[in-house]
Symmetry: C2
Amino acid sequence: MGGAGVEAGEVRENLMEFTGNLRRYPMNDSSWSASEKKLARHAFDKALEAALAKTMAEFKSKASAVTVPSQMWELEAYLREQRRDIDRTFDYRYSQLLYVFTHLIRAGCLDEKLLAGLSQDKRDVIRRDLAFAAGRPASG
Amino acid sequence: MGGAGVEAGEVRENLMEFTGNLRRYPMNDSSWSASEKKLARHAFDKALEAALAKTMAEFKSKASAVTVPSQMWELEAYLREQRRDIDRTFDYRYSQLLYVFTHLIRAGCLDEKLLAGLSQDKRDVIRRDLAFAAGRPASG
């Protein structure tokens, strides 16, 4: 009970630190310049394309490996989960976009270089969150 | 309005005749002999196997034809519908079994010959319901 309590406490502290980081950088529509919006839309679309291509490849491989009905229902569940995950992840609200980009970079769906044209403060948020997620201090 | 009323009336009468037929032949566990139960289980399992094989073949064909993500989500919806349809259809309660068999014969999943060992009254129910569903009087 004591051990579990300590662990839960640590998890809670980490979460508070993480959401605190996010809250310190509220991004609304007006904090994005026209060129940043264009760049963000392009990066977002490329990442969605990559996520769908990845799912398609996995789906094709799984589908061709199906030999018994139970595997067909497993594939149905897999597709449902992928669809919901993609729906949840690709949230194009400016208030969420930096968090979304961090998530997509970590998932291997987005090349950070596509975001090079964002303002320094936005890139700092992303770099800090990537470092936090990786469990190491932000460099640079 | 008048025309639609007449049609609705006809549909209602047909439905009442149909459910009346079913109600005249309540089949519970005790109205099935041991050999009939064995035969029914065999027929049921063969039909389930046929239904799953049919769905598998359709699934394989659709899966290999998927080229864009939207078709992948359509296939997910197709699988969900097929799974629910199979779950609903394959109801092994003795009170439902003759209706289930009629449905499976009509769907092309069950060879009526597999039911040849059922009692005359049960085969009559099935034949009558098949004739009714086909919109013609029962023969023989």
